[in-house]
């Protein structure tokens, strides 16, 4: 069966080559592209999607999808800033703000997981629902008041401050990525996710706690979206229910381009990270190369197609199943 089913890209070599080609082209178009400064810039910009993509990858590996990212980010980011030193009011819970905000993400992820696993509703629609639930919570928290901004200089500057030459945002993302890789490779949960994605029926038949794994995956994804919401809010210095805007269409394509098949069972955190970098570099490079903004999304789309076709070309075959 496997011999005929889509044998996805063996290893991320195609992807790495694509990224390298892009880097070379963009560096030729604008030498500043290869500067340390731009490296820091790219890492800073990539850190939020990097955190989100870890959770998204787990969910996609399981054969499900999590669309709720932007809503969860909004809810957690808003909860966090309202509980941290901000221009709205004096309430400052310190570390508890983090706990509560990530807890909110956890709750929303748990909701997705429970409805999906227990009521057997396709994750696509459940998480479309939780997206709006999260956004709704963010909007209610936001209320009628003024835009809350961080008053703590230390917090507002933390994400962009450099440690060992790289921005703190990225270090936070790196910790999450490391955790994701460890969880994926070294825990029963991570392996269970792959097993469920490969064949849920067998996993159930083999006595695996499939529902628990599913719920856990969505919960982890919720927590990470929550964390990403906090980081994005810190980066912007102000809270907004729309803080996650645009992340979904970075993160899921990143995972998919990197070979995490939407059907599940394939891919991995490391690869998705390459996918995120491909997309971020593409966007950053188009700006640095001075591509007319009118054409940016078109050029983006065209390069994307060329890249994925180049990656998939060698694996074509008469019997390959392409979904």
């Amino acid at each position: 069966m496997q011999s005929i089913l889509s044998r996805s890209i063996k290893g991320p070599i195609g992807l790495i080559v694509s990224i390298l080609v892009l880097i070379v082209i963009f560096s030729i178009l604008n030498p500043r592209f290869g500067s340390i400064e731009n490296l820091q810039n790219v890492l800073y910009q990539a850190s939020v999607p990097l955190i989100v993509v870890v959770g998204a990858t787990l969910v996609i590996q399981m054969g499900s999808i999590d669309l709720s990212v932007e809503g969860v980010m909004g809810a957690s980011g808003m909860a966090w800033i309202l509980l941290s030193p901000n221009t709205r009011h004096a309430l400052d819970l310190g570390p508890w703000a983090w706990v509560i905000a990530i807890g909110l993400g956890l709750g929303l992820g748990l909701l997705s997981g429970l409805v999906h696993a227990k009521l057997k509703v396709p994750s696509f629609v459940v998480t479309l629902g939780t997206w709006y639930v999260g956004l709704g919570i963010a909007i209610l928290l936001y209320g009628n008041g003024m835009l809350p901004s961080l008053t703590s200089e230390a917090l507002a500057r933390w994400p962009s401050r450099l440690s060992l030459g790289l921005p703190n945002s990225f270090w936070l993302a790196a910790v999450v990525i490391l955790g994701g890789i460890l969880a994926s490779n070294y825990t029963g949960f991570g392996r269970g996710v792959l097993a469920v994605g490969n064949n849920e029926t067998i996993a159930r038949g083999g006595g695996m706690a499939v529902d628990r794994i599913k719920i856990a995956a969505f919960t982890v994804a919720g927590c990470l979206s929550g964390l990403a919401g906090i980081l994005a809010t810190m980066q912007l210095g102000s809270g907004s229910p729309d803080i996650g805007f645009g992340q979904l269409f970075t993160v899921i394509p990143a995972a998919v381009i990197a070979g995490t098949a939407l059907g599940g069972g394939e891919g991995g955190v490391l690869r998705s990270i390459l996918g995120v970098f491909l997309l971020i570099i593409l966007n950053n490079g188009l700006v640095l190369a001075g591509v007319d903004p009118d054409f940016q999304s078109g050029v983006f789309g065209a390069i994307l197609i060329v890249a994925i076709v180049a990656v998939a070309w060698p694996t074509r075959g008469a019997l390959k199943v392409a979904k």
Binding site: M1, I4, R191, G207
Partner: protein
């Protein structure tokens, strides 16, 4: 008897129904320590269902079960595994995206050392897998990805996983093998036989097979199921195949033999390969099959037979060589061209490649040759149904319901429908079959073989990859032996030469 050692398994009046179907009907069975039980019966007799009950996958509607003297009331496969029941299911149940070692470990989660504080200990997992693989004498890297393995190797992984059971002290494991040999070749079956003999030293075994000689050779006792009930339970000593037949079916099948077709004098071959090569699969294959003749390709698994057949069918591009169909050299060969030229292909992996599971028999049969069932671009449901009904009646498909989705049929009946799909051709020139009898019971096998012979009589050339060498000797006019992707021997049986199985096996390896 007041033996201190309780039986490994004691089933009392166990039943299980699916809707109206009584899959297991009032079965009582006792297995002693170290005993190897053969379980056989027609397709759909209820063997797998009974085993699933033992494995904790299905729950009995009625009856009680005792394992090693303790009442067993399994809620999940894990419960069964802990109680010492290890299973190789009929359908492979491995995670193809994970490594061999991990597949073994996943079943074996309780084992200490495999994970510490919830963290996987890969070293130990791989060591454990190596040990188990060594124990059953299989040479496989624990790190290999299961999806990259051949079907047989995967089967070995399944067996390795099953023998991992570690029931408590004084308890005896029960190893269940549901048709493990269906996908194995001669040499591999011998390995398995040896393995089962080893297992007997510390475990009891239930072995399911449709190959009766195998059952008689390997097992101490043979149990026959029919329509969910046990119809026979006796020692294998002195039992013949015919005896087992009688217990399985109402009337023993009449063995049909076919006069072998003589080497044709002048006719054009229906299909001919000249120096056909697919890099990494097979090299320099030349042979021809004439209308009305059957050529069997024998070889070990991985010898390239499957790949060769796919290439003939246009499902793979040859790297070198030419292919002639009905005397014409073909280029840019594709599945659609092949089918248009009258070729047909019954793949080995029936469920994945042979049929559309969610479609009814009617739609499956109308998948390929439906010229008669079309009005312009529209389908003619009435004619489709009539065609399907004709085939269902002719092949005696059971249940005789052309509207039921095909994945709800037993494997044998599925195979009949797959065959019907191709036989429905108005002009069938070449019929290629990869392991057509895999998993089929004796009766169905004969029905399928009868159809193949019938097609042959009507002038179709047949290329066959058989399950066993016996099958090849029974069916073929010519045998080609493949070894490592090359033809190592040819035997023309129409000349009436007496060929020994041993001889062929020697040419295979």
């Amino acid at each position: 008897m007041t033996s201190a050692i309780p039986p490994v398994l004691k089933l009392t009046n166990v039943s299980r129904s699916f809707g109206k179907v009584k899959a297991v009907n009032n079965v009582s069975l006792t297995i002693a320590r170290g005993e190897v039980i053969g379980l056989t019966g027609e397709n759909g007799a209820g063997k797998s269902t009974l085993l699933k009950i033992l494995a904790g996958i299905e729950r009995p509607d009625e009856g009680t079960m005792e394992i090693n003297g303790k009442p067993a009331n399994f809620r999940s496969p894990n419960d069964a595994f802990r109680a010492g029941v290890g299973v190789v299911h009929q359908e492979q149940s491995l995670f193809t995206n994970l490594s061999v070692a991990e597949n073994i470990a996943l079943q074996n989660q309780d084992r200490s050392g495999l994970s510490r504080f919830g963290i996987r200990n890969w070293g130990e997992i791989n060591r454990n897998a190596s040990a188990v693989l060594d124990k059953i004498g299989v040479k496989l890297s624990p790190r290999a990805r299961v999806g990259d393995l051949s079907f047989v190797d995967r089967q070995m992984v399944e067996i390795a996983r099953a023998v991992c059971v570690e029931p408590g002290k004084d308890a005896t494991p029960l190893i269940i093998l549901d048709e493990p040999t269906a996908v194995l070749e001669q040499a591999e079956v011998e390995v398995l036989e040896r393995e089962i003999r080893k297992l007997r030293r510390f475990a009891s075994v239930i072995f399911v097979s449709h190959r009766l000689d195998e059952v008689l050779r390997i097992c101490d006792r043979v149990v026959v199921m029919r329509h969910g009930s046990l119809t026979s339970d006796r020692s294998t000593e002195g039992v013949t195949k015919q005896d087992l037949f009688k217990a399985m079916v109402d009337d023993a099948p009449v063995a049909v033999t076919r006069a072998r077709a003589a080497t044709p004098a002048q006719s054009t071959p229906a299909i001919e390969a000249r120096g056909l090569t697919v890099n990494g699969k097979f090299r320099d294959i030349s042979f021809a099959v004439h209308p009305g003749r059957i050529t069997a390709l024998v070889g070990t698994n991985g010898s390239g037979r499957g790949a060769l057949m796919r290439t003939l069918f246009g499902a793979g591009k040859p790297d070198a060589g030419t292919l002639l169909v009905n005397g014409q050299e073909v280029s840019n060969w594709s599945i659609r061209k092949a089918v248009a030229a009258g070729l047909a292909y019954v793949p080995a992996e029936r469920k994945v490649e042979g049929m559309i599971g969610g479609y009814s028999g009617t739609r499956n049969i109308a998948m390929v040759h439906r010229q008669t069932a079309m009005v312009g671009p529209l389908l003619h449901p009435g004619r489709m149904a009539r065609t399907a009904q004709t085939w269902f009646d002719r092949l005696d498909v059971n249940p005789n319901d052309i509207t039921q989705p095909l994945d709800q049929f037993s494997g044998g009946n599925q195979q009949k429908v797959v065959l019907a799909k191709w036989l429905n051709s108005p002009d069938l020139r070449v019929l290629m079959l990869d392991h057509p009898l895999r998993g089929l019971d004796v009766g169905v096998s004969q029905a399928v073989n009868a159809q193949i012979r019938e097609a042959c009589k009507n002038g179709t050339a047949v290329v066959l990859i058989p399950d066993t060498i016996e099958e090849a000797l029974d069916m073929a006019d010519e045998i080609l032996v493949l070894r490592d992707g090359q033809i190592s021997a040819r035997h023309d049986l129409s000349s009436g030469s007496d060929l020994a199985i041993k001889e062929i096996v020697a040419e295979m390896i």
